[in-house]
Amino acid sequence: MTTQAETGPIIKAGGAAADYVDQRVGVSKFLKKNLNKVFPDHWSFMLGEIALYSFIVLLLSGTFLALFFKPSMTEAVYHGSFIDLNGIKMSEAYASTINISFDIRGGLLMRQVHHWAALMFLAAITVHLLRVFFTGAFRKPREINWLIGNALLTLGILEGFAGYSLPDDLLSGTGLRIAQGIVQGIPVVGTYAAMLLFGGEFPGNDFIPRLYIVHVLLIPGIMLGLITAHLMLVWYQKHTQFPGPGRTEGNVVGYRLFPVYTAKAGGFFFIVFGITVLLSALASINPVWLFGPYTPTQITAGSQPDWYMGWLDGALRMMPNVEFNAWGHTLSLNVLVPSLIVPGILFTVLAIYPFIEQFATGDRREHHLLDRPRNVPTRTALGTMSIAFYMLLWVGGDNDIIATHFDLSINQITWALRVMIFIVPPLVFVFTRRFCLALQRRDREKLLHGYETGTIMRMPSGEFFELHAPVSDEERAVLLAGVTYQPLELDDSPDENGVRPKVSPLDRARAKLSGFYFGEQIEKPTAEELEHSAHHAQELADGYARQLESGGAPSAPSAGDKAH
């Protein structure tokens, strides 16, 4: 730092304050270590930030709404400024939501900010999760953060559904009715669980106040704690980075926390907040006054949940009607399977995925360089397969809207989906794996032979060859990156006495899984191969030069012709 800066008025005033704080908190020790912490810069590393900032926007707008919202199912007769509902009986929750929308200035804006931010929060979590998955950022030492992220996703979905349900409009009440039906259908304890949750039968007088405290304190409190832990771990473990020149498993390349990263991340908060507010100025969301107050005798066509619940609704729609009755008991698989068993399995597999993959690789090393998705074809294929599965369920949840907009039949869509859900994801798996291997092959070709320039040269001797440009150092660093695993072989060959060693079932499973992951892959060129190919290229160029020298006229390069 220059001496001028040290004596500037800002630094001086800041210095006095810093001195005061440091003498009491000892903040300089922390700042010394962290102000020049390096963060790698990549747009996809900001997806998680979108979720974080949306969460802050949710806390701010939610606090505003809580000042006016009445979480009560007590019956009220509406006499506000929204004339269409004048004199209609409704709950106080719904009446206060209408009041926020029409009689609190800026209230509608804040309601819309809150709802758009909620949709944004879960969308950002989803794409952040996909980024972490496809780049292998969940590998050691980040498995715990993966689990925290999973918990945040699950809590976020619950929190969103709770918020959707609070205004007690016709859509939210319908959603609660479905949730209650699902709980009631749980074997053995369902009836009791539903009675306890709702304080008796549906809908009762208690549920919205109970849901309110869950929505404004319990879940956000837990989420706040988990988000703090999530960020502290990122801080402590340092961020991952994509492979590239100068980037290794042992370093972090990027910009310092202060000032560049602070300015970018702080600025991005304002951007996310600003865009959410702009969405709320321009596009209507959840116009509850049009839905009307909830009453169990009414329903509207197109009763849909928010997008993050759509896949669950789709699963409920697609499930065939299987129910068993025996010994005086009812087992509703048509409700249980799509609403609890399938999501339960999906979330469990998602949560333990890092451990499954580690079991297959047997790799206990730390990984800080991200994978390029093509370099781990099986993981990438599992990912795209899951996306396909999720999206088919999503389509199922929207089938009535799709039917009316594309002139289709909901029955046909449902039947098609019931078949496709078993056929399409495996096909996507196979296709993705093939595609990744093809990309790997192309990378290998590029490393060994460089780029095809499309320029055909003719040797004076009449021989044609295509000019290949070698890949740049930067690109080579990227292409060579990645860990190549060999499938684990079971060593059960007999020893000198002809006795086969015992192989535990676990080892057998590990070998199977490892074969599934790494049985088919394209080897990266070895150092010798690379050297050899470089040598070969040199020879070719030399030969060309020699022939030119010996009198042959060079033929004009003819771009476009492809040598075979």
């Binding site: 997806l47 979108i50 969308a123 991005f268 596009a283 969301i285 959840n286 005798t297 009316t404």
Partner: protein, 252 residues
Amino acid sequence: MASFLVLFVGLLVMGGLYAGLTSAGTASAAGTDDSPQAIAKGRALFLEGCASCHGLNAQGGSNAPTLIGVGAASVDFQVGTGRMPLAAPGVQAKRGHVSYTQDEISALAAYVASLAPGPAIPSAEELDFEQANLQQGGQLFRTNCAQCHNYNGAGGALANGQAAPSLKDATPQQMFTAMLTGPGAMPVFANSTIAVEDKQAIIKYITTIRTSPNPGGMALGRVGPVSEGLFLWVVGLGAVTGVAVWIGAKTS
């Protein structure tokens, strides 16, 4: 045999009651010109444009229902919304180009009404919904209509490729006659179950909400959370991700 007879008599009485009820409506049909000239003109138009499917005497055919007893209201709705003549055989007749003038539609209606008593075209007083109760209309709409036509009258899917149409372009008279006659898959909401003033309230509610402002901004089709989710993913997440790409890009 005796029970059969009792049943038969019961049915006759029932049918009589039903006919009496609906013909009471016919008598007050101010909207229908039931002069012999109109009926004759309607019959001519019918023979020319409708009889090939509905039969020479409107008795119905293999692909078309009988029109005896459907009443003037049914003709007014089906022809007046362009559903008839059917553009192409399909699952469901859809709102389309209206092929007849209002005079011709009235004549057709008069002819069909002359065949047998049936629901009549509502009178001007019946259609006057200005004084109707908007809020009650909302309650009735959400109880009887929204399940198919959606909370905003945007329409919705039914089984086997059918759909409840959007109410965006429906005139008050068409809404009224649709309720009276139950076209296609739609059930009949006769004046005996939803009284005239309740129908007026429903019509008032529909005409109010379909042109109601969108205080919050773009309506996104008013089909509920599906379009909101799509908008968020494409526009909302698209915009913030776009900024993220800008942040991560190298400055030249």
